[in-house]
Symmetry: C2
Subunit: 581 residues, 2 copies
C-alpha cells in the first residue's frame, strides 16, 4: 500500500471525552471516529487491525472444527420471548418495532437464533457435535457508553455455540474451544491470562475468561505465584482456613467509639490490628406470592473480617441467599438491630436474624464488632461464650494479595485485566426453554447440551493498546499492526536515489508478502515519524539522501530508542529476517 | 474442506413462502435460513458464496483506489435530520429509540455518516479525491418482504462514496467506478447489462444500473439490437418521431361503443389498428399554502397512443408536473369531463384542463378517442381542426420492442433484469444539506461533489441463481460457487482403494489451492449426487470401486448431461486444466 492511496488522518489532540489511553490513541491515530455515543466508524487504519484480529480468530475457529455462518442483526422478539430474555433482559437490550408493530431486538448475542437453527437442522445425534460461529455486529445499549471501543454500544463479536448429545461430549467441545482460545490469544502476541470464572446457575467449573493484562483493566484477576491457578475476583476461592478456633482470652467489653463507624477507624482508635475487627453487613430476602407481591422478608447478618470485602457471587451461593437477595433497608435495620449502620453487630438483637459468618470469622477469638448502640463497639467477643454459633459458615469474601492459593501452592497475587474472551458451558438452559431437541441413539428426543464462546473482536485492539503504548503512541504486536513495516523516504521529491531505493524496497517486500506501506505523502520527516509512531507500526525503514550515499539506510523497531544502520543492499533481507524471527 | 467437518443441510421441499426459484433453491441447498420475515441467517454454505462475492468486490474496489471502512449499523437520528431523511424517508427506514429516548436509525445506506466523516477529515482540496466504501449490514423495512435474499429486509450492501473538489473531478471518479463495476461484474461470470438510469433531481446522465439478466427479473431493461445503447424502462427514451403530421382524411364522427371502455376493445369493435386509438389519462397537481393545505388544484389530461403505456418518470419531467402529481379523483374527472373514466377525451370538456400529448400522438391524424359521454367514442379526430394544439408535447411513454433506438442505430428490444448495482453522481445534495466543506485552492470553503455506488452483496447470489439453474438445482459460475470442485467417493467405507484415491486427489487439489470439498459423509450415491447438484458445485469427480479397477474416475461439470471417464492418474491435472481455462 502507498500512503497517498490510503486514508491517513492523524490528530494532534485527543477528543475531550476520551478518558482512557486506547480511546485517545485510536482516535488520534485515525483508527476510529465517533458517530454517536458509543457508536464508532472503523476507519481504514483501524479496520486493518480489526481484520487481522478476525483472520486469526477465523483460522483457529475453523481449525478447531467450528463452522462459520452469519445470523441477523435484527432478530424477531418472538424468538427472544421463547428464551424469556425479551422480558428479563434490562434496557441494554435494544428493542425496536417494525412498521407492522412487531417486536424485534438488535442482537447482543445469538443464543436464540442459533438454537432455532439447531432445532430445525440437527435432527439426529449422528449430526453432533456441531459448533456454529459468526463474526458479526452486536449492540448493547450501555447506560453510560465510554472508553471508545472498550465499552461501546455497537461492537463486533465472534460468538460460537456448540451443540452436543450429552454432558460428557459437551465438555469435550468446551475443552476444544479452551484450547483454540489459547491458540488465538497466543497468536495475538499479547500478555494474557485464562482465568476461571463463575458459571452462574449452571454450576461446575466450565467457565473461563480470557483477560488481557493491563494496569487500566476494569477486572481484578487473581493468580497464584506458585502454580497455574488463575481466576477472576468473583470466582477466586479463599483457601479454607485450618482450625482450631483460638481460645477466648478476653472478657467481652462494651467500649466507647464515638463517631467511629468503620472497622478501620475503630481499629485505629483501639490500637488493634484491623484483622481483629469484624464488619456486619445486613441483607434481606423476600418471599413473594403468585402475583410477585412480597409476603414475607427475612433479614440476614453477614460477618466479615474488617480487612475483607464481601463477594456477592459467593454470597449468592449460600443456601437461602441463592434465590436472590438485596441489601436491607434502614427501617429493617432499625427494627432488627435498634441502631443505624456503623455500630451493628450480632449481639443484643431486637429481632432474630439469620447469621452467616465468613470462614475466617468463624475461627476468630477476642474479636471486635458493633454493640448495636450508636458510638459503642464490643471488644473481646468470642463465639459460643458471647453468642451462639452462626447459622452458616461460608467463603463469602474477596481474596486479598498474600492469601494462600486455593490449590495450596504459593500465594495469591492480584493484577488488572481486560476481558476479551469468555467460554461457557451452558448445559440445556436454552435448548430446554426453546424445546430444541434431537433424536438420541435410543430414538428418544433429547435437549441439546450447549456451550457458548465469545471474543470481543473490536475490543481487542483497545485492550492491546492499553497494554502496549508509550508517550509517542501505540506499539502494536506484529500480528495486529495495521501495517507491519513502514518505509519512510526523506526528501523523496528531491532525490531520485531516495525515490528509487524506496520504491525498490517497497516492491521487494510486497513481492515477499510483507504488509508494508510506503509513505509517499511528501510529509516532513518529523511529522512523518510522529504519524507512524502514533499509529504504532512495529518496523520502520528510513531512507535518506545523505546516508544513502554512504550505502546505508536506517532500521528501527517501534520500541527501539535508536535506529540501526543497515547496508542498503541488505535491508530487505534484514527486515524479512526480523519478521521471520 | 471435508463434508463431515462442514455443515450441510439440504431439504427435499422448499418452504411454502418461497415464490421464486432462487429463494426455493437457496433454502433447499441450506444456504439461507429464515429467522423472521425478510430476515435470514447466512448458513455456512451460503456464506461461502457471499464471501466470494465480497472478495471480488473488495479487490476491484481497492484496485480502483477506494479505501475500506465500516460505518455503524445503528446511527444517530440527529445526523439523519441534518440531511432531512429522518423526516422524509417513509417507514422503510427503521427508527429506534435508545434507553435515553434518543432517536436512532438502522442504516439503509450511509450518505449521512460518510459525509460527517468527510467534513471532519477532508479539510483541503489536496486530500481529494477520496472514495470510502464499506461492506456492511443494512436494513430496509420493506412493507412486504419476499423472494428470500432478493427483497429481504436485512441485507449486506457494498456502498461507496466519492468526494471530489469539483464536478469535472467527480465525473472522473464516477467513471473510475463505472469501469470498476464492469470489472467486478465480468468476474462474477454472469450475463449482465449496464443500463442508463434516471438520475432524478440531479440531472445529467451519470446514473447507471447493473442488471443481471433473468426472465424472472422485476425490472424491464431496454437495449438496442444495433448498438451499445441500454437503459432501464424508466429512462429509455423513445426516438423523436419525424413529422410532418398526417393530413386529415376523415370527418370527426361520434360512434356508439357500448361497454367498450378500453382502447383495445374499441379498436376491436371498430376494426381499427390499436395504434389509431388514443388513451386519456387524467392527473392533478396541487398548490399548497405554508401549512401544507391544498389551496388550488389543476387537472391535466395526458394523451398516449392506445398501444403505449405512461412512463411516470418522464411525466415527472414535464414542466408543471415536475413538482409532484397524482391521479385525479373521480369527482375531479366528473367535474371536468362530465363522464366517468373509459370514455374520456380532449374534446367537449366541461372545465378547461392542461393538455399534454405524447410525441407520437401529436403527429397522428384521424385518431379515435373517448367522446366524454358514456358508451361513445369519437373517430376521425384531427389536431387543429377538431381541437386546439396541446399545451405541451413530450416523451411520456414507455418504449416498446421494435421502437427505433434513440441513438438511431437498430431497434429496441426488452428483457428482464435484476438490479444488483447502481452508481450515481450525487452532486452537492448531501454536502450542502450537511454543510460539508473543504478549503478549495482559492482558500475558500466549498461543498464536496459526491457520488455513491452500491452493490447488493447478498442479492447477487439470488440473481445468479435466477439466471443459472435447472430442475436439479443451482448452477454456479466458478467464481461464485461455495466450492469449485466436489469429490464424490462411492463406497468409501467399503473400499480402501476408493478412500485412498479420494484422499490423494483431495490432498493434491488442496495443495494446488483449489476450493475443493471431499464428501466423506458416507451417503448413498443417489443422495450424494442430488445434494451436490442442488448445491450447484460446478465440477464433480466421482471415484468408484469398479471404474477404479479399470484405472479411471469420472468427471462431470454441472451442466454436462453425462460424465467423462478420465484416467485416475490424470484427474488432478485434468481438473486443474479445466479451472485454469
Amino acid at each position: 500500500m502507498k500512503a497517498s492511496q490510503f486514508y491517513i488522518s492523524t490528530l494532534k489532540e485527543a477528543p475531550a471525552d476520551a478518558e482512557v489511553v486506547s480511546h485517545q490513541l485510536m482516535t488520534r491515530a485515525g483508527m476510529i471516529k465517533k458517530l454517536g455515543a458509543g457508536v464508532y466508524t472503523y476507519m481504514p487504519m483501524g479496520l486493518r487491525v480489526i481484520r487481522k484480529v478476525e483472520a486469526i480468530v477465523r483460522e483457529e475457529m475453523n481449525r478447531a472444527g467450528a463452522v462459520e455462518c452469519v445470523m441477523p442483526v435484527v432478530q424477531p422478539g418472538e424468538l427472544w420471548s421463547e428464551s424469556g430474555r425479551f422480558q428479563t433482559m434490562g434496557p441494554e437490550l435494544l428493542r425496536v418495532q417494525d412498521r407492522h408493530e412487531r417486536d424485534f431486538v438488535i442482537q447482543p448475542t445469538s443464543e436464540e437464533a442459533v438454537t432455532d437453527i439447531a432445532r430445525q437442522d440437527l435432527r439426529s445425534y449422528k449430526q453432533l457435535p456441531k459448533n456454529l460461529y459468526q463474526i458479526q455486529t452486536k449492540f448493547r445499549d450501555e447506560r453510560r457508553p465510554r472508553f471508545g471501543l472498550m465499552r461501546g454500544r455497537e461492537f463486533i463479536m465472534k460468538d460460537a455455540y456448540s451443540f452436543d448429545r450429552d454432558e460428557a461430549s459437551a465438555k469435550v467441545s468446551y475443552q476444544v474451544m479452551a484450547k483454540a482460545y489459547r491458540a488465538i490469544f497466543d497468536r495475538f502476541g499479547l500478555t494474557y491470562r485464562a482465568v476461571a470464572a463463575d458459571s452462574g446457575a449452571i454450576g461446575g467449573d466450565l467457565s473461563e475468561e480470557f483477560q488481557v493484562i493491563a494496569s487500566t483493566g476494569e477486572d481484578a484477576i487473581v493468580y497464584s505465584t506458585g502454580s497455574d491457578y488463575a481466576a477472576n475476583m468473583e470466582k477466586a476461592e479463599a483457601l479454607k482456613p485450618t482450625g482450631p478456633r483460638g481460645a477466648a482470652t478476653q472478657a467481652m467489653t462494651k467500649t466507647l467509639t464515638p463517631g467511629k463507624s468503620t472497622c478501620a477507624d475503630v481499629a485505629e482508635l483501639l490500637q488493634l490490628p484491623l484483622k481483629q475487627t469484624v464488619k456486619s453487613l445486613v441483607l434481606a430476602t423476600d418471599q413473594t406470592d403468585e402475583d410477585g407481591k412480597v409476603v414475607k422478608s427475612q433479614v440476614w447478618l453477614l460477618l466479615l473480617r474488617g480487612d475483607h470485602d464481601m463477594n456477592e457471587i459467593k454470597v449468592s451461593k449460600v443456601p437461602g441467599l441463592d434465590q436472590g437477595f438485596r441489601f436491607a433497608t434502614v427501617p429493617e435495620i432499625l427494627e432488627h438491630f435498634g441502631t443505624k449502620p456503623g455500630y451493628l453487630g450480632p449481639i443484643g438483637l431486637k429481632q432474630p436474624v439469620k447469621l452467616v459468618a465468613d470462614r475466617e470469622v468463624a475461627l476468630m477469638a477476642d474479636w471486635v464488632c458493633g454493640a448495636n448502640e450508636e458510638d459503642f463497639h464490643l471488644t473481646g467477643v468470642n463465639w459460643g461464650r458471647d453468642l451462639p454459633e452462626p447459622d452458616a459458615v461460608a467463603d463469602i469474601r474477596n481474596v486479598v494479595p498474600g492469601d494462600a492459593a486455593p490449590d495450596g501452592k504459593g500465594t495469591l497475587a492480584i493484577e488488572r485485566g481486560i476481558e476479551i474472551g469468555h467460554i461457557f458451558y451452558l448445559g440445556t438452559k436454552y435448548s430446554t426453554a426453546m424445546d430444541a431437541t434431537f433424536l438420541a441413539e435410543d430414538g428418544k428426543p433429547r435437549h441439546f447440551e450447549m456451550g457458548c464462546y465469545g471474543i470481543g473482536i473490536t475490543r481487542l485492539p483497545a485492550a492491546a493498546i492499553e497494554q502496549n503504548h508509550d508517550a509517542r503512541g501505540i506499539i502494536w504486536p506484529d500480528a495486529l499492526a495495521p501495517f507491519t513495516v513502514v518505509i519512510c523516504p526523506v526528501g523523496m521529491d528531491r532525490s531520485e536515489a531516495v525515490k528509487a531505493a524506496a520504491e525498490a524496497l517497497y516492491a521487494e517486500l510486497m513481492a515477499a508478502g510483507v504488509d508494508v506501506i510506503l509513505d509517499d505523502r511528501g510529509e516532513r520527516p518529523g511529522a512523518m515519524f510522529a504519524d507512524w509512531e502514533l499509529i504504532g507500526v512495529p518496523h520502520r525503514v528510513t531512507i535518506g539522501d545523505k546516508s544513502l550515499t554512504d550505502g546505508v539506510v536506517e532500521y528501527q523497531r517501534r520500541r527501539d530508542t535508536a535506529a540501526t544502520k543497515v547496508p542498503a543492499a541488505e535491508i530487505a533481507a534484514f527486515v524479512k529476517g526480523w519478521l521471520a524471527a
